[in-house]
Amino acid sequence: MAEKISNSEVQKIAQLARLELTDAEVDQYAKELSAILGYIGQLSEVDTKNTAITSQVTGLSNVMREDTVDACDNPEELVALAPEHKDGLIKVKAVFDA
């Protein structure tokens, strides 16, 4: 496990996470993430060669419901929650470069 996170790694992660950071934040997170990952490094002491992962604890699997269509009674209300909307549609910036 890597222990020191560099500023350029922080910038790369921030890009993946769609998170704009200031230079001060990049410095701060490089330090803090390194410290936290240093602490987390102790997990490597645990022998997990023959251990399965736990992704859920309920023991439920393939939870199904009837495949029926339910009406949505408030589409206008839902669209109105968007910061910008027009004619019942959510408005966004251009998706493709011109």
């Binding site: 921030a14 996470a17 769609r18 998170l19 950071l21 602490y39 997990l43 997990t48 736990t54 309920t58």
Partner: protein, 487 residues
């Protein structure tokens, strides 16, 4: 008439309402009077629902007058954590990114409260998106502990614990992802129940760590806790992880004595209690359980020390994924300065998430990124298996596990705010139940220097009845819950 909210439980308030000792409007008004007088100091509420609450109270009074049937929580004022969706009432998750968000739907827990006749008083503060253990990560400023206003009420559901301990309501909803109900309850002399994962629907909770998130119950007595659980528990088609198991009447076994109940003390939980006086309170509680007839056994959970490390990979990983939806497109705030779609995402998130949300997004994105997934997320999920198996094995030998809630009583605001890792370690006794999906309850166990100290009991999956029974027997023998914060 003057009503002393601090002296009331849900049970006693129901009794008084039924006997028309006071009206529901009196009760709800008395709570709002206290909020007006004291919440400028406590800062529990982020929004109030006063007009609707009073209308509902009038409706309850009419029903009482006309002798119509009443719901199990008719007229009971409840505060709801601001990460739980409430139709028509702002729900911000204590984040700037949702500052003006008003949900078009109720969470299942809110719907069930309303069906039972409870009165939603308003929305209470928490750490932003429930990331934290002190409420200091709220974008709208911390809440203060009614027992000592210079201290934190715990977190992340600190507005819930503060509101109830301050006498602003008679119960509160929180959430518990890794201790966020149990720890604030412990710091405020309250019962804080984390149910079995899946026992109470998560529909309408703003997802943080989907594999450990659960609603949490704050109450002043075990009887109230049992009643609230009864109202809230049960299968929900809107949450595919909710359990179909039958819901027992959790009140029916409260009065059974503890003879024949074995309580395990995992030695690893008693090694880091930094405050010797808190340790003494916990020892006295153990002695009391023994006097009540429980058999005390020494047990071991050797992988406990890896709990926080596993939790702080699993949580940020799931957080980074769950917070992906807050991108300025469908709801919440959108950056004014963005020129491209990519900038809309990055600037909206950069400008509006607070430092801890960003920290968790970064940590989780790193742990899930190509080349690190196996080393971090998968490794943590495997350690989770070991921790969960270990605790389940011990719970085959004993009925309950008893541990401290925190290594020390409530911290001063600011004490650990600059050290994220130190704040993560506040969850040291809390992560086991979260990772294993078992229920845990924090119960009032005494005081150190005027500050509440709690002990935690954990039980097998779906065995909330034994948890509440033990807590109730202890409550009757000690009466710590009779003490209230003075504002």
């Amino acid at each position: 008439m003057r009503i002393d909210i601090q002296e009331l439980s849900i049970a006693s308030a129901k009794h008084a309402l039924a006997n028309q000792e006071f009206s529901c409007v009196d009760l709800v008004s008395a709570c709002f009077d206290r909020i007006r007088k004291h919440d400028k100091d406590v800062h529990a509420f982020l929004s109030l629902n006063e007009e609707q609450a009073l209308e509902q109270a009038e409706a309850v009074d009419r029903k009482i007058k006309n002798k119509e049937p009443l719901g199990a929580l008719a007229g009971i004022p409840v505060a709801v954590k601001d990460v739980i969706a409430t139709k028509g009432i702002p729900t911000t998750a204590a984040s700037k990114i949702l500052e003006r968000y008003v949900p078009p739907y109720d969470a299942t827990v809110v719907e069930r409260l309303k069906e039972a006749g409870a009165i939603i008083m308003g929305k209470v503060n928490c750490d932003e998106f429930a990331h934290g253990a002190s409420t200091e990560n709220s974008a709208f400023g911390p809440s203060r502990n009614p027992w000592d206003l210079s201290r934190s009420p715990g977190g992340s559901s600190g507005g819930s614990s503060a509101a109830l301990a301050a006498g602003f309501c008679l119960a509160a909803l929180g959430t518990d992802t890794g201790g966020s109900t149990r720890q604030p309850a412990g710091w405020c002399n309250l019962y804080g129940l984390r149910p079995t994962y899946g026992r109470i629907s998560r529909y309408g909770l703003f997802s943080m760590t989907s594999s450990t998130d659960t609603p949490g119950i704050f109450a002043k007595t075990t009887e109230d806790t049992a009643l609230l659980l009864l109202v809230l528990a049960g299968h929900d088609l809107l949450d595919a992880t909710s359990l179909p198991s039958e819901v027992p009447d959790y009140r029916s076994k409260l009065n059974e004595p503890l003879k024949g109940i074995a309580i395990g003390l995992p030695k690893e939980f008693f090694e880091d209690v930094s405050d010797p006086k808190s340790a003494e309170v916990v020892s006295q509680a153990i002695g009391q359980f023994e006097k009540l007839g429980a058999e005390i056994k020494h047990v071991s959970l050797p992988h406990t020390k890896y709990g926080v490390a596993a939790y702080y990979i699993i949580t940020p990983s799931e957080v980074s994924s769950n917070l992906g939806r807050f991108d300025g497109i469908r709801y919440g705030h959108r950056s004014d300065t963005a020129n491209t779609l990519m900038e809309v995402y990055a600037k909206t998130r950069g400008e509006n998430f607070g430092p801890e949300a960003k920290r968790r997004i970064m940590l989780g994105t790193y742990a899930l990124s190509s080349g690190y997934y196996d080393a971090y997320y998968q490794k943590a999920q495997k350690v989770r298996t070991i921790i969960a198996d270990e605790v389940k094995k011990v719970l085959n030998e004993v009925d309950l596990i008893l541990t401290p809630v925190s290594p020390h009583p409530a911290i001063k605001l600011g004490e650990k705010a600059d050290d994220p890792l130190a704040m993560y370690l506040e969850d040291i006794y809390m992560s086991t139940a979260a990772l294993a999906g078992i229920p845990g309850i924090s119960i009032p166990a005494g005081f150190v220097g005027g500050l509440p100290v709690g002990v935690q009991l954990m039980a097998k999956q779906l065995d909330e009845a034994t948890l509440l029974r033990a807590a109730h027997q202890y409550e009757k023998a000690t009466g710590w819950t009779m003490q209230h914060a003075k504002l």
